[in-house]
Amino acid sequence: MGCIENLAYEKILPLGASFRECREYVEKNFAEFWYVDPGYKLFDEYIIGLPPIALGIDGSKIVFPYTKPCHGTYLLAVEDADEAARVRKTARKKK
């Protein structure tokens, strides 16, 4: 299991965003977005959330929600071309 804190991430939406806000933000602000279900592995972490979970991609940057019990949900962006390519292969386009 990895730790999200070890990644060089950019916060797109601050902590305390609701899960639905994160999904809507991705759908409205990214031309390319994909859907996955809870338990999808991203950056060696199992992603949680209300299915379907929207992941945005901008070039090699992946935008994804991350929930911590005390802080709520953040929307994070991490640059990783290999992981972006993997998402394109394994995620789905339809909700």
Binding site: M1, F19, P38, E45, Y46, G49, P69, C70, G72
Partner: protein
């Protein structure tokens, strides 16, 4: 009319705990663990390090909660099919708690899922739940008594 009959006893109950900032959670977790264990159900609790440390201090001999685990590890084990539960109880007093409950619903589709929604304003949170589960909703921050009563009713435990 409330059904007070004792329900069938599951082998393992998984308790998924929220952030410990609302005091009733701690008391209710230990109370629920006590009620299950005396009926022969093993209890496994998963939470963040802060909530697990609070429980460790409250239950130094692990009489109530012998098995605890960091939430991320618990989710990893469920996804990898190394952990299962016939009953999962999620404590939710924030959007994050509902997110964890939705995740458990998806990962454990056959499991009885009970979501305890509490805190200062639980009704809007309860309205976010659009997946199948049993909801126990009660405004509760410092006083656990009314919520405990509702929990006892759901599981058929005499007060």
């Amino acid at each position: 009319m409330t059904d007070h009959t004792e329900k069938p006893v599951p082998a393992i109950a998984l308790l998924v705990l929220g952030c410990p900032e609302v005091p009733v959670q701690q008391a209710l977790v230990l109370n629920i663990a006590h009620n299950f264990r005396k009926r022969g159900t093993a209890v496994h609790a998963a939470g963040n390090p802060a909530v697990l440390n609070l429980l460790k201090v409250s239950d130094p001999e692990k009489r109530y909660l012998p098995e605890t685990q960091v939430l991320e590890k618990c989710i990893e084990e469920i996804v990898e099919k190394k952990r299962d539960a016939k009953l999962c109880i999620v404590f939710a007093h924030s959007d994050a708690g509902i997110t964890y409950a939705a995740t458990m619903r998806h990962l454990l589709p056959e499991t009885r899922l009970v979501v305890i929604i509490f805190g200062k304003d639980p009704e809007p949170l309860a309205a976010l739940i659009d997946f199948p589960c049993e909801k126990i909703v009660e405004k509760a921050v410092h006083n656990p008594m009314q919520l405990r009563k509702k929990i006892n009713e759901v599981f058929g435990w005499a007060a």
